[in-house]
């Protein structure tokens, strides 16, 4: 009896049947993962407190749609199945077997491709929608959950096929499983790794770089890394990953979907092309396309050498030319060793270690060139100051910089609102920028001792282009310039973010950012909100009356922490908190706070359990502990205060380097806090006890 001729459809189903049987392990794992994710995960959520129904819905929605680890599993599934899917090309035995069968090559390729997708899709869809149906039966299903589930499936399906296509391309370039896994893995994360290296390089050598230049690299990396197109949101949202936020992300990552779709199409076409061109006799070799060997070598060696340079850079500091030569030589030598090892691996013979030496030379020139360009700042990044004609304003940020960047990348960022809050005196802006950048270069590159306050300046161009630089405002800067800038409300808003926010609560008031006055705080409600508004109004008035000289003398009395109502764009879930320094000259604020027993002149000695002072001399530690209330008062009065940016400038510190540990009584959350004396602030009894005169 002979079998009947099989139709194409029959052959397809038979091929799928055989493939599922052969890939049973992958199929079972996929079923198990999605089973535990959907039905089991949902059951666990439903078992939680019934009172929090809305919370449960949020959690269910996130479980069924966009849990971040499920993206990772989807990408990993695609990676493994893609490698497994083309692994027959790595064995001559298998090639002889499959390629002699009466089936079109591209049909077999497609069959494996579809089978891989089904191994992922069937359990995902089955359990996700099965769980939805179960929830509907139990009255838990909402439209939001259902749409999130559907959107999650579509998005992850796109991620799967994109990672699959990228992995297939790099697996097809190779001829053995080890190289296939290594190369596919490297090039799946290559954009992100090179972006990381690039940003590291820029941050290491461009002293004024606030990762502004690196942001472009990070974005490009995100575009070229399938998973990166969905994981970028983690830099945007750091709060709770509630369904509302996740829904927002899903809406926002539509460009990520488009980028992945483009990536998929490009890599699928390349994969199809490579599969057609790949010679079967290349089974078992390292790289199936000899022409790609130098390209791959260069792509691996350049970042490899840069990484070496950066690691060496953490050991050798300094920006001199001779340092660069040492760097370059080490980079090249290590790169050459790596090149020889890779060549020996590709050729399977150490004698061919220098076979394509020209590729190494090219890689070395590129690596040293890139390294040198950044090292010597060939493009003048650090010294860049825009021309006066091209700038319409600037923003100065010192502590809420992340908020700034976050706002720029979210839907809520309003260009007009932001622009309205700019400092617009171009001449003063550029003068501060020039001085600040120079001071930073002097300190970090030229090793000139320079004291000052670190800030970020963002030049906003007339074309709305934003260039941000890290600057150091030197303590000897022209005070008139700073006073002029300080008189601008926009500048003050930058230094003290939150002044314009809708503040509703005082969340903390502390002495010198150390000691919290618990009794100042009021519970949530109208009264608390009114109090917060009153404090803020007083603070604004004090700030109006102050100038830069007042606030830059290091005389901070305490810190005020205020929070605003939850932002709408976070679905009412994310609160923003702002810290405002209260200077000694801020009489109105201090008077208001004093009414609530928050006297910022010094911490209440009654709250302090003990103070320990210690001092190292001649290799031994001399220490004393004080519990007497009067001595504690005298010590606290002598402690150094933070400056306008909550730091203690060196010139304000006592040069002896005496450490002061405050041990609070039980009400205070901090048991210990390390501090230091201000210049001339060491009480006489401490000096005597520590034998400072000897």
């Amino acid at each position: 009896m002979t079998s009947k001729s099989s139709s194409s459809a029959n052959k397809f189903f038979k091929a799928q049947h055989i493939l599922f049987g052969r890939r049973m392990a992958c199929t079972v794992i996929s079923f198990l993962v999605w089973f535990f994710t959907f039905p089991v995960g949902t059951s666990l959520i439903l078992l939680q407190d019934r009172a929090e129904a809305s919370y449960r819905i949020d959690m269910l929605s996130s479980f069924l749609g966009v849990r971040s680890w499920t993206f990772v599993f989807t990408a990993a599934s695609a990676f493994v199945l893609a490698i497994e899917g083309v692994s027959w090309l790595f064995s001559r035995q298998k090639v002889d077997f499959y390629e002699s069968m009466p089936i079109k090559r591209n049909k077999r390729f497609r069959a494996i491709w579809i089978n891989s997708f089904l191994i992922w899709l069937i359990p995902f869809a089955l359990f996700a929608f099965g769980t939805s149906a179960w929830m509907a039966a139990g009255g838990h299903l909402t439209t939001m959950v259902l749409t999130d589930t559907a959107a999650g499936l579509l998005r992850q399906a796109l991620l799967f096929i994109t990672v699959y296509a990228v992995t297939t391309v790099f697996a097809l370039l190779t001829g053995n499983p080890v190289t296939a896994v290594a190369l596919s893995f490297i090039f799946n994360i290559y954009p992100s790794v090179t972006s990381f290296l690039g940003r590291w390089l820029l941050e290491q050598f461009l002293v004024t770089d606030p990762t502004g230049a690196g942001i472009l690299l990070a974005r490009i990396a995100g575009w070229l890394t399938p998973l990166g197109n969905y994981y970028s949101f983690q830099t945007d949202y750091t709060g709770e990953t509630t369904a509302v936020i996740l829904r927002h992300i899903m809406k926002k990552t539509l460009p990520g979907d488009i980028r992945n779709l483009v990536l998929f199409l490009v890599f699928a076409l390349i994969a199809a092309f490579l599969f057609r061109r790949r010679k079967n006799e290349m089974a078992g070799v390292s790289l199936a396309f000899p022409v790609t060997v130098p390209l791959i070598m260069i792509l691996l060696l350049v970042p490899g050498m840069l990484m070496t340079g950066l690691v060496v850079g953490t050991i050798l500091s300094g920006f001199s030319a001779d340092r660069f030569v040492i760097w370059a030589v080490i980079m090249v030598l290590i790169g050459m060793a790596a090149n020889c090892l890779i060549e020996a691996y590709i050729e399977g013979d150490i004698r061919f270690a220098f076979r394509r030496f020209w590729a190494f030379i090219l890689a070395a020139v590129l690596a040293v060139g890139i390294f040198g360009a950044v090292f010597f700042d060939v493009f003048g990044y650090d010294t860049y100051v825009p021309s006066p004609d091209s700038v319409k304003g600037a923003a100065f940020l010192h502590s809420q910089r992340e908020d700034f960047w976050r706002l720029r990348t979210t839907e809520t960022y309003d260009e007009e609102t932001y622009t309205a809050a700019l400092v617009t005196d171009t001449e003063d802006i550029l003068e501060l920028g020039r001085t600040g950048q120079k001071a930073l270069i002097d300190r970090d590159k030229n090793m000139v001792q320079t004291d000052g306050w670190e800030m970020y300046i963002s030049y906003i161009g007339k074309n709305n282009r934003i260039e941000t630089r890290h600057i150091l405002v030197p303590t000897d800067i022209d005070r008139e310039l700073m006073n002029r800038l300080f008189a601008d409300p926009a500048f003050r808003e930058d230094l003290y973010p939150g002044l314009g926010a809708d503040l509703s609560l005082c969340t903390n008031v502390s002495w010198n950012n150390i000691f919290s006055y618990e009794n100042v705080l009021l519970a949530e409600g109208e009264k608390a909100s009114a109090y917060a508004e009153k404090v803020l109004a007083a603070y604004k008035e004090d700030l109006e009356e102050a100038d830069f000289d007042n606030i830059s003398d290091g005389k901070i009395s305490g810190m005020l922490q205020l929070s605003c109502t939850a932002a709408e764009d976070t679905g009412g879930k994310e609160f923003r908190e702002y810290s405002l320094p209260v200077y000694r000259s801020f009489k109105k604020t201090r008077a208001l706070l004093k009414k609530k027993d928050a006297d910022m002149s010094a911490p209440d000695p009654d709250m302090i359990g003990s103070i320990e002072v210690s001092y190292y001399r001649d290799g031994r530690q001399i220490g004393r502990t004080y519990e007497d209330a009067e001595k504690i008062r005298q010590i606290t009065e002598g402690l150094a205060g933070t400056d306008m940016f909550y730091d203690i400038p060196f010139e304000n510190r006592d040069e002896k380097g005496i450490s002061v540990f405050i041990s609070w009584k039980k009400e205070n959350p901090e048991e210990y806090y390390s501090y230091t004396f201000r210049k001339g602030g060491i009480p006489a009894f401490v000096a005597e006890d520590l034998e400072l005169a000897r």
Partner: protein, 299 residues
């Protein structure tokens, strides 16, 4: 008919097959001989459509074979290292081949498996090397293809199995016009199976001829002359002449009757015409074209 036209194939810098032209007629058993690395496997893989020639073309029944399922349905390739799915059993492979080859004969498969004493439910990985080869041959025979390409298939088989294979091939050739192509580095194994032999060396074809023609065109005469041996044998082309004491061995290019007529003119103490083995024929023929073939074939 398999028509190989000026085919060349290189692996990077190694020339595996070089300008080979051959015609494999239907209904013949074609033997492909050569040393290891001579290009036999490459040529078979080219014929099976696994590899693409760098130059030249291969036509099977006037159709290109590469990526052509219609043609491949008529070709079965038994690799020198047959592949089976991990964990598969003979019955699994039967299902696979049944789905792939429209003429696969499942009843015959079951019968042959039984006849060869193979357990169809046992995992193939537990089979011996010879059993795996037997299974490959059974799959190939039952696929019902017109061409069966065997790469060193006879090497792992014992004499009984070789005889069985010969019998199976003979039966299929007679019944359905099967054309087997057997590649081996061992001439002795092919001698009693093949009708036509091609000798490959360093990727090129040295010789391709019907075995019967080769044998018929050469005669080996051993004799002891009465008195002095003649300096030459006029009227015959002497391919080789060897003398050990008074015993002379001649190989002449002629028919048997013609040789007998010429040699009847001389007086002998002892005289006989012997059959040449395929190996001897090959050695003589290839030496005639300038190759020291003893080094190439006799293992």
């Amino acid at each position: 008919m398999i028509d190989i036209q000026s085919v060349s194939k290189s692996y990077e810098k190694t020339r595996a097959v070089q300008d080979v032209s051959l015609t494999l007629e239907d209904g013949q058993v074609f033997g492909l001989v050569g040393t290891n690395g001579a290009g036999k496997s490459t040529l078979l893989r080219l014929i099976a459509g696994i590899l693409v020639p760098d130059r030249g073309k291969i036509l099977v029944d006037n159709e290109p074979v590469y990526d052509n399922p219609a043609v491949r349905e008529n070709i079965f390739f038994i690799s020198d290292e047959p592949y089976y799915y991990p964990g598969s059993r003979a019955v699994d492979m039967k299902k696979w081949y049944r789905d792939m080859y429209p003429s696969f004969d499942t009843d015959r498969f079951d019968k042959l498996i039984k006849d060869f004493g193979l357990d169809p439910r046992r995992r193939i990985r537990t089979y011996s090397k010879g059993m795996r080869r037997q299974l490959a041959v059974i799959c190939g025979i039952c696929a019902g293809t017109r061409y069966l390409l065997c790469d060193e298939t006879t090497d792992g088989l014992d004499p009984v199995m070789r005889q069985a294979l010969k019998s199976l091939l003979g039966g299929d050739m007679e019944e359905r016009g099967l054309t087997p192509v057997l590649a081996s580095h061992n001439l002795r194994e092919l001698e009693d199976i093949c009708d036509h032999v091609g000798l490959l060396h360093q990727g090129g074809i040295l010789l391709s001829q019907d075995i019967a023609d080769m044998k018929l065109g050469l005669q080996k005469i051993q004799c002891v002359f009465e008195g002095e041996a003649p300096a030459e044998i006029p009227g015959l082309e002497v391919v080789s002449h060897e003398a050990r004491g008074r015993l002379h061995t001649y190989v002449v290019r002629s028919g048997r009757e013609e040789a007998e007529t010429v040699f009847s003119q001389y007086s002998f103490v002892f005289y006989e015409i012997l059959n040449l083995s395929l190996e001897e024929v090959f050695i003589l023929e290839t030496e005639a074209v300038g190759y020291d073939v003893k080094k190439l074939i006799i293992g």
